[in-house]
């Protein structure tokens, strides 16, 4: 049992090390300006198009449910003027970046692992090597960069549509006026709350891209292997997103407190 755990731990540390190595070598291509912009924009549009619908539903539902759950309580306590602010704050700081990242991990991270995994089992990655082209430069850099850039954009969108959903339920079910909802948001939400969320989304995007590509490269054993990589890419990236979220949240809160307390 102990041996098994030790082996798993070893395996995990190894994996994290290899992913870091991949990220660093990608970064070195990035710094040297070796980016294929055509591919980058293609990947970005793929990520946007593929996840827009799911992010819409996630954002809308989250905003609506927040108000459903707390709206009536708040009205009873006479605190209806806080509802809009709480919804906006919860979305901007935590819910929008996290839920967007989890949805995109399921949709895009898995697609990356499947695509690269298929390239591995059909020897296309070997073919890239024989043509003297680095798969990191050709496949990893545009994908990770695209995910890192698209996640904040999708998060802004999730914020907006979440607030729209919240305001809709407030007006239709809880009897809070749109004006009071809006005033509450303006009084509570600060630009730095939004920026903190976007910074987290950027990091989540990097995690999704790196894990998706890494799991793809680690594929072996034909179609079954591709299936396994796909699943494990989603599981691992969601776990890493949740773990990273704690540390990033602590960081963001600390930065905010030390720079903006006065």
């Amino acid at each position: 049992m102990f041996k098994f755990l030790l082996k798993q731990f070893n395996y995990m540390i190894n994996g994290l090390g290899e992913m870091t190595q991949m990220a660093l070598s990608g970064l070195s291509f990035l710094i040297r300006g070796k980016i294929n912009f055509r591919d980058l924009f293609y990947q970005m549009s793929q990520i946007g198009v593929d996840s827009l619908f799911m992010v819409s539903i996630t954002g809308l539902s989250t905003g609506m449910v927040l108000v459903v759950q707390m709206g009536n309580q708040m009205v009873k306590m006479g605190a209806e003027s806080y509802v809009g602010g709480i919804v906006a704050l919860a979305l901007a700081r935590e819910l929008a970046p996290n839920l967007t990242a989890i949805v995109v991990a399921g949709r895009i991270g898995s697609a990356m692992a499947a695509e690269i995994g298929t390239m591995v089992v059909t020897e296309q990655i070997d073919a890239l090597h024989t043509l003297a082209v680095s798969p990191i430069k050709y496949l990893v850099v545009p994908r990770v960069l695209a995910a890192a850039l698209m996640l904040p954009i999708l998060t802004i969108y999730a914020n907006a549509i979440g607030i729209f959903g919240g305001s809709f339920v407030s007006v239709a079910q809880v009897n809070i006026s749109l004006v009071s909802f809006k005033e509450s948001i303006l009084a509570t939400l600060l630009v730095r709350d939004i920026l903190g969320g976007l910074a987290k989304a950027f990091i989540f995007g990097i995690i999704i891209g790196i894990v998706g590509c890494y799991k793809g490269f680690k594929t072996y054993g034909g179609a079954e292997g591709v299936g396994k990589s796909t699943t494990s890419a989603v599981v691992l990236s969601i776990m890493l997103i949740l773990i990273a979220n704690y540390f990033l949240s602590v960081l963001v809160v600390n930065v905010n407190e030390s720079f903006f307390t006065n």
Partner: protein, 271 residues
């Protein structure tokens, strides 16, 4: 045309050794695939490596290409020890090599033309019209003119192999490696691919290493045949020498008979 890749093999004359493999060992987990393999390839010749499926022939090609690292042993290309090369040096060397994979390994997100011109676009500053010209030339050469705009999924197995070959020769390589080019093709296509292999060798003058278990093909194209068995090269010779070989393994393999030293346990899954 020499593009901007470093050439190592210019000073080597035709008929002199260009690639030499010395005492190569490679294992995957507990499965020992190569056990002290030694082999010499002369410049300009067509060397066909035959052997039972799963004996590690493809692994040997991947080791020569630097796609895998050996456990021990050395590989020299034009006198340089490539097993000591770093990634950059390996890439410089790979620009002088072309490889045709078993399943052709075309990039399915790119068109046929983009596949063929991949190396040119990545490594040269040629204009689009010059690249298009080379693509059309290579398509002519493989007998499939005018298919540059198709996607690989629209091609048949034999066409894919031929496009894979066009991609491999796009940079005018010094060495061409073929990994079972005729496996899974109909007899007519096999003859066409064999003829192409001979053509490429003659027209481009490139050294050719071809891995196959198709004896008919081997006898049709080979300058020299090397028998790979049990992780080693057990016999090398011209077509006639191999045909008259006294070695029981070679004899059994040529005849395709069930009885002999090659048993079913040698035909395990190739990695």
């Amino acid at each position: 045309m020499k593009f901007n890749a470093t050439s190592y093999a210019d000073e080597i004359k035709k008929g002199e050794t260009i690639i030499s493999v010395r005492d190569l060992y490679k294992a995957f987990g507990s499965k020992k695939v190569l056990k002290g393999l030694t082999l010499d390839v002369k410049k300009g010749e067509i060397l066909v490596i035959i052997g039972p499926s799963g004996c590690g022939k493809s692994v040997l090609l991947k080791l020569i290409m630097g796609l895998l690292a050996p456990d021990s042993g050395k590989i020299f290309y034009a006198g340089k020890e490539i097993t000591k090369f770093n990634e950059h040096e390996l890439n410089e060397m790979r620009k002088r090599f072309g490889m045709l994979f078993q399943g052709a390994a075309l990039f399915d997100s790119l068109s046929v033309g983009e596949n063929i011109s991949f190396g040119l676009r990545e490594h040269t500053n040629l204009s689009k019209s010059e690249i298009d010209k080379i693509v059309n030339e290579k398509l002519e050469l493989i007998g499939l003119p005018g298919i540059a705009a198709l996607s690989p999924s629209q091609l048949s197995g034999g066409m894919k192999k031929r496009v894979g070959l066009a991609r491999a020769i796009a940079m005018d390589p010094e060495v061409l490696l073929y990994d079972e080019p005729t496996t899974g093709l109909d007899p007519v296509m096999v003859t066409i691919i064999d003829k192409l292999t001979l053509d490429m060798n003659k027209k481009l003058g490139c050294t050719t290493i071809l891995v196959t278990h198709d004896m008919k093909s081997a006898f049709r194209i080979a300058d020299k045949i090397a028998m790979h068995f049990n992780g080693q090269i057990i016999e090398v010779g011209t077509r006639e020498e191999i045909m008259k070989s006294k070695n029981p393994v070679v004899k059994q393999f040529i005849d395709g008979s069930e009885e002999g030293p090659i048993t079913i346990s040698h035909a395990t899954v190739e990695k």
